[in-house]
């Protein structure tokens, strides 16, 4: 039964993933304008009129150079199948922006940096937010409740780039506590290496982006936990514990565990989202992660890179939802046990 549930969910998510990947194929092709045109225009610029009839020839040359000839002359549905075949092999082709570096290599290099700030931020916000939310729920209507809810909502009203800007201004520019940006000290280290000073440098540079992300996302967890927990504290089954003489502290622990369940789902989904959730932060801190390259790819109409990052996003979202389902099934028996005997 447990296995059946997993298989059922698995098939469901494979279909979702497939749909997402198909959209990944269609969407860039729906963007008006031509990438080749843009590149050619960039190359020949003002001299375009002099080329005149040679534009078609130029396009052919470019198509050859980019290794796109098999795409350029085939109908859309064949392109689609080729696309699927390539994607399974994780072959997205070369990036147009950084030609001829393959997209997969850019992603490989950028993804760890994104994870380096996003995972600590999501995990940190999850823990701090839930504990604050619990404190708020337990002192509902009290001073702690107002301070926690008010404070986190206040932080939430600022977009991340504003919070980030303020933090950079005070903590980096004025107080010199934190560095201004980038992933590590580029003056000291030419390329990433495996050493303690380097790891420390990475941690040190990640701190401010992580703090900014946490400050922004705290309110969601706090409100989620608080609003889940308050009604649970008054549920009949919690009252039953109290009526059996279970001390309030143990009762609120059980309520906390129950209230945590919906937040677990949000947690996995937040991890999936955050692959791109950090675009603003990565730009602000000049942090070369996926979000940073995503922005570059859109600006430069770098379809292969867009495809690649979009693929990462779809996969991360589907995976995180699947994991959320499994985890939820493990911690909440009600979802995985489908057979129930009625009254």
């Amino acid at each position: 039964m447990k296995k059946e549930y997993l298989i059922k969910r698995g098939i469901y998510y494979i279909i979702i993933w497939f749909v997402g990947i198909s959209i990944d194929f269609i969407l860039p092709r729906l963007i008006p304008g031509s990438v080749l045109g843009t590149i050619i225009y960039g190359r020949i610029g003002a001299a375009a009129s002099a080329y005149g009839n040679n534009v078609q020839q130029e396009i052919e040359i470019l198509v050859q150079q980019l290794g796109l000839s098999q795409y350029y002359h085939t109908p859309l549905y064949i392109q689609y199948f080729d696309f699927l075949k390539d994607i399974i092999q994780l072959n997205f082709g070369p990036s147009l922006l950084e030609f001829p570096v393959p997209v997969s290599q850019i992603i490989e290099e950028a993804a760890p940096w994104t994870f380096a700030i996003v995972i600590p931020a999501v995990v940190g916000a999850f823990f701090i937010g839930n504990i604050l939310g619990r404190t708020a729920a337990l002192s509902r209507g009290g001073i702690k409740d107002y301070l926690i809810v008010g404070g986190t909502m206040f932080l939430y009203t600022f977009p991340v780039f504003v919070t980030g800007e303020i933090l950079i201004e005070f903590l980096a520019v004025d107080a010199h506590i934190f560095p201004l940006g980038s992933q590590y000290n580029t003056f000291k280290f030419i390329r990433p290496e495996f050493s303690l000073p380097f790891i420390w440098s990475v941690v040190y540079h990640a701190m401010l982006p992580v703090i900014t992300l946490i400050a922004f996302s705290l309110a969601g967890w706090v409100m989620g936990m608080r609003n889940n927990m308050i009604p649970i504290l008054q549920e009949d089954y919690m009252n039953y514990y109290r009526l059996m003489g279970v001390p309030e502290k143990q009762v609120s622990q059980k309520a906390y565990r129950l209230a945590l369940l919906p937040n677990f789902t949000s947690f996995s989904i937040a991890l999936g989202y955050s692959v791109l959730g950090a675009i603003a932060i990565e730009l602000l801190f000049n942090y070369a992660g996926l979000g940073y390259f995503f922005n570059e790819a859109i600006t430069a109409l770098d379809y292969p890179l867009l495809n690649g990052i979009f693929f990462m996003l779809v996969t991360a979202m589907v995976l995180s939802n699947f994991v959320a389902d499994i985890v939820y099934g493990m911690i909440d028996p009600r979802t995985s046990h489908e057979e129930t005997e009625g009254v």
Partner: protein, 335 residues
């Protein structure tokens, strides 16, 4: 005849309980004084909003805002003045001396805990270990009619209504309490299961010589099972006594009307007496007798002057200023 005077299990004196709302304090229980006998089944009957659940909450000292105890005292087991005890002391006797069985229809069991984990939680709160008390739990399950132990590994949502009610009874009795309050133990169950649960309750009461207090709106069920019955209306106990007394010779017209409004096989085709109108509500509380506005026997005196309480034995009493005159008018009004 020698009257055996026994110590009551629960003794409620002059209890006034209200609820705070935006419009001020609404008093619900008005001067409730009642003794619940030991080793007997006592039923509290009343329609919704008559204050019976409020009374049960007060006895368990389960008093949360907006509920407020204005005055009165509750003595449990002759020595525990629950209303003056602090939470820690109350937790000490809850479940152990006085236990509570909530409604089956409602969700009284933690939905993400297996039945054994619910036992575990309750035992752990007393510093007791689940595994060393496993035989006690098996016994408790056997007592409520579970012959196999499979139920321990099940979640509440996998149980039927009747099973859930039996599990709740088993959990409530696990610490071996002497006094048990049951809130609507049969509501939401079908008739066959109701019957089983009632048989079970009766058997457990006898075997463990429990003092049982059963709260229900189902007066027919209460008369089936109870030794003593209290009839509540508008936050007051209108009548209290042994079930034979109430059944044969009700002192208060409300009891009489309630009992005669239950359809039976012999009443088929006949017109049943009905109680006209609705309870005014606690906001516009009647000046005189609380039932006067709906009572077919009420006089102007009833409406103006609150009736005196008349006690006729250690437990039994009634509130009615027109007894026994109203008895003679019954025929006149309903035939």
């Amino acid at each position: 005849m020698v009257i055996m005077v026994t110590e009551p299990a629960i003794s409620v004196r002059g209890l006034r309980v209200g609820y705070i709302s935006d419009s001020g304090l609404t008093t619900v229980l008005r001067n409730v004084t009642i003794d619940i006998p030991s080793n007997k089944i006592t039923g509290i009957a009343g329609e919704s909003g008559s204050g019976k659940s409020t009374l049960a909450s007060a006895i368990m000292k389960f008093i949360n805002p907006p509920m407020l105890v204005e005055s009165g005292s509750i003595i449990v087991d002759g020595k525990y003045d629950v209303l003056s005890m602090d939470n820690e002391q109350v937790n000490e006797i809850r479940g152990k001396l006085i236990s509570f069985v909530p409604q089956a229809a409602q969700n009284s069991l933690n939905p993400i805990r297996k039945v054994k984990e619910i036992f575990f939680d309750v035992l752990k709160s007393r510093g007791m270990d689940y595994y060393s008390n496993i035989n006690v739990i098996y016994r408790a399950l056997e007592d409520v009619g579970f012959s196999d132990k499979q139920v321990l590994d099940m979640y509440p949502f996998q149980l039927s209504g009747g099973m859930r009610q039996r599990v709740v009874i088993a959990v409530s009795l696990i610490l071996d309490p002497r006094i048990v309050i049951m809130d609507e133990p049969t509501t939401g169950l079908d008739v066959v299961v109701q019957h089983e649960i009632l048989k079970l309750i009766k058997r457990l009461q006898k075997e463990k010589s429990l003092s049982l207090l059963i709260i229900s709106h189902d007066i027919a069920m209460l008369f089936q099972i109870s030794d003593y019955i209290a009839v509540m209306y508008g936050g007051q106990v209108l009548e209290y006594g042994s079930y034979e007394t109430l059944l044969e010779d009700a002192y208060n017209p409300y009891t009489y009307l309630l009992l005669h409004s239950v359809p039976t096989i012999t009443s088929r085709g006949k017109k049943l007496p009905r109680i006209p109108g609705d309870f005014e509500g606690f906001g516009r509380y009647p000046k005189g007798c609380v039932f006067s506005s709906r009572c077919p026997f009420a006089t102007d005196t009833c409406r103006e002057v609150p009736p005196e309480k008349v006690s006729y034995d250690q437990y039994g009493f009634y509130i009615c200023s027109r007894y026994p005159e109203w008895k003679k008018e019954v025929k006149k009004i309903y035939e």
